[in-house]
Symmetry: C2
Subunit: 337 residues, 2 copies
């Protein structure tokens, strides 16, 4: 491997000069600069990142710790983060934890000295405490339950979005609105459920727990939950799934059962992943600008990294918008059939 010494020797200068050339220091004549550049080019030299990090105490890297890498949600999130990071000259270190404590610890370990800050999305409750205690660098939390001056966090307007969607369905005339819930100990899932219940209560429609089916954010669970809900009597006229993947699974189950959407059953999701609009019928959903969420998180983190101590931590909520497509409609009148 060619090091700074090799270049220095070949160019007949000191290592300091080579270093200066590479860091665009003004304290070097155009002449020597050109000479060093040429030699470096010829030798195929480029500085060793680890060594530089050690010396400068900067890595120009940011870590991204995700619970999973499956599906379009994470892909969009990473895209947003990478875009912003790249613009600021930072690179990405990716790790998935599957929400296991040990994996989180391992990731945090290997991040130390490799990144200047970390974006972590870990829906498991308590994970943010573990991260806080272990991380020796700024951290931005995504969709975590963490609140307070100790954390920098970004959250989606989960409850609000759910409420909006349910209100929309109620406006359409629906009364028996079922929900496919997300994972039990997931914060986003809990908030969406809260919004669902609140909207129902607000409209004077009593809660009916038999209309709340359990899911886990996977399409398979949405499929199963929809079949379960089909057995309820009287049957619900609308299904609100806590995320798009489950709504898509439900769509699949309904098609197989010969239940027409939206005529016999309205279906709505949450997230607006790219494929939602390509469903048949196109899926109504609560849009979260996922890439923007990633960008915002990156901005916050970079800000924290740059201003080290004088950075004020806070929780920030990113808005959502209703996207009404064809998967929801007015319910058919029961007495008309």
């Amino acid at each position: 491997m060619v090091t700074i010494k090799d270049v220095a020797r070949a160019a007949g200068v000191s290592v300091a000069t080579v270093s200066r050339v590479h860091n665009d220091s003004a304290l070097v004549t155009a002449d020597t600069r050109g000479r060093v550049r040429a030699v470096a080019e010829r030798l195929g030299y480029s500085p060793h990142a680890a060594a530089r990090s050690l010396s400068t105490r900067k890595t120009n890297g940011i870590g991204v710790l995700l619970p999973d890498l499956h599906g379009e949600f994470y892909s969009e999130l990473i895209r947003g983060i990478d875009q912003r990071a790249q613009r600021h000259g930072f690179h990405l270190l990716l790790a998935s934890s599957h929400n296991e404590k040990a994996a989180i610890a391992a990731a945090l370990q290997s991040m130390r000295g490799r990144v200047d800050g970390l974006i972590v999305m870990s829906p498991a409750p308590g994970a943010h405490l573990q991260v806080r205690d272990m991380a020796s660098f700024p951290v931005v939390l995504l969709n975590s339950a963490a609140v307070g001056a100790e954390f920098d966090a970004l959250a989606v307007a989960n409850a609000h979005g759910a409420t909006q969607m349910i209100a929309h369905l109620i406006g359409l005339g629906h009364r028996r609105i079922a929900m496919i819930k997300g994972p039990v100990r997931n914060h986003d899932a809990a908030e969406r459920l809260r919004g669902y219940r609140a909207a129902l209560k607000e409209a004077g429609i009593g809660a009916d727990e038999s209309l709340e089916a359990q899911g886990d954010f996977t399409d398979a669970s949405g499929y199963a939950a929809a079949n379960e809900l089909l057995g309820r009597t009287p049957r619900p006229t609308a299904i609100f799934a806590a995320n798009d993947a489950m709504a898509i699974g439900a769509l699949s189950a309904l098609r197989e059962a010969g239940v027409r959407v939206p005529q016999e059953m309205a279906v709505t999701g949450f997230d607006d992943i790219p494929m939602a609009r390509y469903m048949h019928p196109p899926l109504s959903t609560v849009r979260v600008d996922i890439a923007a969420l990633g960008e915002r998180a990156t901005d916050r983190l970079l800000e924290a990294v740059a201003s080290r101590r004088k950075h004020r931590k806070r929780r920030e909520v990113v808005p959502v918008t209703l996207v009404i497509r064809e998967s929801c409609n007015s319910p058919v009148r029961r007495d008309a059939s």
Copy 2:
């Protein structure tokens, strides 16, 4: 930041001993080991990765350079890579190049000293040469045109897959089979086109360039291309898109145009991204086990990293399989209408 020195001082031992404890060296008594461990724990110490890399000349990181991060293909690929890497104790460094020479150079620069090897997928021709000349570590190429003893490469059976699919359509009775092509200078796209033409020729069906519409792998381009093909007379009875995203765009265009799939037009794709089976109708496609591709690439790279020089470079082709769903069918007889 708490360093190894702090721990050594607090534990009343030398830094060497602390280092030994952390590296599970046998040359340290259980007693001191326990004491050091306790102190390290109390102080919240964990070794600085950059420093360690500098000393050991190992980073335990692998770089992943992708042309883009958009869509399910890359997300699945990354998932496969991460899974394998994590199992071997390696972490991921992600970068997207958008196929710009400068971006590739920048990524390669920042990888230096941070990774032990690199997986690069850069459909642009010539990119592999640039990578070869700049990289100071083992590289595994994904879907590149590179051949020869100089490169370690993994490729998808593009031409074969395309041929298989076209043969299937011909078997169904289709004769006017259109293709939505991928980006002009993309290697995968070129191979898929080659397979398409070969299958047609093999069946004694002359090539008809008016049935080859240009696309660029995005759903929007598939949408436009399908509309273009709808104008051809006589109209094709089947469309083979060079990837699923374009097939999905085509499906959208056909629905808007009131053309029934598969009755009036068969549609097939390539890749079998997760959402393909959720289309309406479910999309027939050529399945590439994307995650497995990522895993295989990682295995190859890790192998190269481990055995440094004595590693024999070679090109390996991963197989594809036909997945026939409902989006293709026998064509309606022209004379029957």
